[in-house]
Subunit: 540 residues, 2 copies
């Protein structure tokens, strides 16, 4: 076996041994040996899931969606040049939202660098600060130390991508022609395993003394604490404000905090004297500001604790929320029970007609434990305000950098990694931005219902100060696309249904289909602004 084939097999087998099961390939010439050997392996191994996505930008977000769902590193394989640069947006999101990705960026060999060779950019460490580590491996270097280095480093890097804070890594692979590997070779590859042992820590009990304790469950990457949290809250009468991405919403938790705060519906007597905050930055911008303005003592408990752009938290405890809940020792006051009751009887925010009421329709219509992906801008805000978690706690979003890019692919990645139908709630602008992502829906018949609120442009801007500058508003911010969603469905051979009133959603979701379905709800940005004001008035 030549060095290329031998070392590439080591690279791939070490990835498999390290637990990588999902690979997203974007076609190209330079990546030929890796793609072929991977396809050969996948053919004989059901555990390997191989997807081919011709648009690398979409591929990046597709891998991100898988990784967010299965909570393991997903490999991206791309060819040299701008193809690798196309991964940048997904890598940036993975970096700030702590999602493990492994980029295998194939490259031209060293002698073709910086010298006018075609399809060659400076791609070693291309992603800079956005990756946790970036290394380069010459697979064609025939030396036992190199093979040994591959075995060792790949295991270490895959592990690194999963260490807190999780994140993306890049492995740059310069390759010289000829690029054809030897296929159908039966030579057995053995990889010396490096075990990463999980030591079970013995925590000192964390003492909590409070008169009025409140928990703020923020966006949660790992769905590992909602049962413990529910039990903890019930036993100790602790009100829990659940972010829609906390994967803990439902039951007696408090939601819609953003609108309650906007309408000053939290009187001083509801001020906690201690807040325990879990997870990432909440969707509601007002809730952290409220803690700061009211000088409420706040602790942040997270495996990666200490991030708070309001700079208000006073104690950061690096710990999984579950371990924290299990090991804490509470001393609460008599007040706690009545304090909790006051929180529980706060009015629930209610959507009014039109766009907003799509959220309660989803709340009612989805099957139990459906995974829901939510686009940024308006949909995530509406979900945070109005979604009760009646049937499912599994709500996801790209809530690191909050981009409107790549959302379709991320949701499709989620759908691809599960057996059941998932749902995406998005606006038309976000749908358009990653429309190319729908190619995967078409090619792999992925089980996703995409509810598109079509308000013809950027709805969020109507809520910002520039809405007052009518002259340039539509040109610079509203940006109506006048795109016909049914034509998008037609182009990608997807099912299409018009949602005339939100309540019809239950019936629509009951109609069994194979593959992806676009469900369009026509809205209007102007009316939506009025409706939101009316919804706020209901809380007065």
């Amino acid at each position: 076996m030549d060095a290329l084939t031998f070392n590439t097999k080591h690279l791939l087998y070490t990835l498999f041994e390290s637990g990588v099961r999902y690979f997203v390939i974007s076609p190209g010439s330079r990546s030929t040996p890796i793609a072929l050997l991977l396809a050969e392996y996948a053919e004989n191994n059901q555990a390997i899931n191989l997807f081919v996505d011709v648009d690398e930008r979409s591929a990046g977000f597709f891998a991100l969606g898988i990784a967010k769902t299965v909570l393991e590193p997903v490999v991206l394989l791309g060819t040299s040049g701008t193809a690798i640069a196309e991964y940048m947006p997904a890598i940036a999101e993975a970096s700030v939202s702590s999602v493990p990705l492994v980029v295998l960026s194939t490259d031209r060999p060293q002698e073709l660098q910086h010298n006018g060779a075609p399809q060659t950019i400076s791609q070693n460490n291309l992603f800079g600060h956005q990756t946790k580590e970036a290394i380069e491996i010459n697979l064609q270097d025939q030396h036992s130390d190199v093979t040994n280095y591959i075995d060792f480093m790949i295991q270490r890097l895959v592990h690194l991508s999963m260490m807190v804070p999780r994140g993306p890594i890049q492995i740059n692979l310069p390759l010289r022609k000829p690029l054809m590997p030897i296929l159908k070779d039966s030579h057995k590859i053995t990889v010396k395993p490096l075990t990463f042992e999980e030591q079970v820590p013995q925590y000192q009990p964390i003492l909590i003394h409070a008169k009025r304790l409140l928990i703020l469950a923020g966006p949660n990457v790992l769905n590992s604490y909602d049962e413990v949290l529910n039990q903890f809250a019930a036993e100790n009468h602790v009100p829990v404000i659940t972010d829609v991405l906390s994967r803990s919403r439902g039951g007696n938790t408090v939601y819609g905090i953003d609108m309650l705060l906007e309408m000053n519906r939290i009187p001083v007597e509801l001020n906690p004297d201690l807040v325990i905050r879990f997870g990432k930055t909440p969707v509601s911008a007002r809730v952290l500001q409220w803690l700061k303005n009211r000088h409420i003592e706040t602790w942040h408990i997270d495996e990666d604790a200490g991030t708070d752009h309001t700079r208000h938290i006073s104690r950061a405890i690096n710990m999984a929320p579950k371990s924290f809940l299990n090991s804490s020792q509470l001393t609460l006051s008599d007040e706690q029970k009545s304090f909790n009751q006051k929180w529980q009887v706060l009015p629930k925010s209610q959507s009014v007609d039109n766009e907003m009421s799509v959220v309660p329709a989803i709340d009612n219509a989805v099957a139990d434990n459906t995974h829901i992906f939510v686009a940024n801008s308006m949909p995530i805000r509406d979900m945070d305000n109005f979604f009760s978690g009646l049937h499912t706690k599994n709500v996801f979003a790209n809530r690191g950098a909050n981009g409107i890019d790549g959302v379709i692919s991320s949701a499709l990645g989620m759908a691809a990694s599960r057996q059941q139908r998932s749902l995406l709630l998005t606006g038309d602008l976000t749908l358009f931005h990653d429309m190319n992502g729908l190619m995967m829906a078409k090619n792999y018949l992925l089980p996703l219902d995409i509810v598109v609120i079509n308000n013809n442009g950027g709805g969020i801007f109507s809520f910002l100060p520039q809405a007052e500058v009518s002259e340039y508003f539509e040109q610079l911010f509203g940006t109506p696309l006048n795109i016909d969603v049914s034509k998008i469905a037609h182009l990608y051979d997807l099912h299409y249904t018009k949602l005339n009133v939100p309540e019809e959603l239950s019936d629509i979701l009951k109609i069994p289909v194979t593959g992806t379905r676009l469900i369009e709800y026509q809205s209007n940005r102007r009316q939506n602004k009025i409706d939101h004001n009316n919804a706020l008035r209901l809380l007065k």
Copy 2:
């Protein structure tokens, strides 16, 4: 006037004073003050061209297309987060193809960095080596030195983007809320001009002694030497091999060198003893290899001379080809005339039926001086082999990193910056990859004819060794998209015509339309491979 408005006006006015006329905005909240003040200025100034593109990836390539055509720096304005990361592919291409771009990346203020704030990634110097310079300016810092710094630095950076080798720069702009600028303020902004003087160099005559001199005109960024070259070649009987991107093809130049070399149709007696090579790496990979294999002395003359990934050139002269031609002193042998004649009577490569023959159809059909943009992979190779330059020398491509991404937007950017209709030749895979770019065609009714050779997938791979591995070929390389081009036209409200036989193109192009027209030619990857072999046989 507040610091934000005052300094933003300085930023913008200095850009105008430095000669920037084209701005491509992608909407967002963080960029609000700059977008609004720019829109206000553009309203009263016809010289400013402002485009709004909601997909930042497309916006990057749209700006690139403009900059390639007008040969001046084009500004990209984007909002914080992954939106800026979306520019990466276009910036990478601009870097290796020496195109001036100025990215204004708006950002969150310093106190929101690295601390969990939404829509915040590490974006200062995001593009790393791909930019020539990356600076950060705090526009809200009210200090006369800051304003003065803005006036000075913007002039210097715009100039830097135009210095050889041209390239992109990033100006990161952290902005703190409130973001609304003061509009309709009549306060006059004055900017102290910094003049960058062009010294006219007096070159020593460059002495050329050769028995058999040949010129190889490679891809040319500046269309500034074809007349001088023609005259030089005619007077001195110098054969000129013109790359399709040399902007010098036509008349007595030699083209189709790649097929001639593939068929060994260049006998030893046609070996030059000196080759003068202009510009960037030629489309034909064989021609540089031929010079190296035959040990032919080669000089590289370019403003940015010295790039040669075959590492064969022996003399790199940093000089514009035009200056070189004007200042050289030739001593040629008696052989030169007959040497030239032998080159001129070489057979011209001829396309055979189907896909390939779209190129001669374009050759014949386009109006004089039409600008033609060509996609990478098969179209650029076919154009290099078969395009004679009958009516136009103006052929462009993204031939730095040779990506299949962003081509639609680049061609639309070219069309947007000109008054006449332009033409794009592309395959279906490249069309799909940047389909979103068509939103600009729809919104701005851009005058472009897009000839799509639809061979349902990646045609180039049929010419590579992996074509032999039939098992994984379609899945990994052929990647048929089964996309209906007429549906794409329908979705974006574009004109659509089917090209049944290539010869119909003349008639189609004569039908006047407003906006963009998709012209689809159905092809077949398998047949195309056979056809190429037949075309080669014609040269035997």
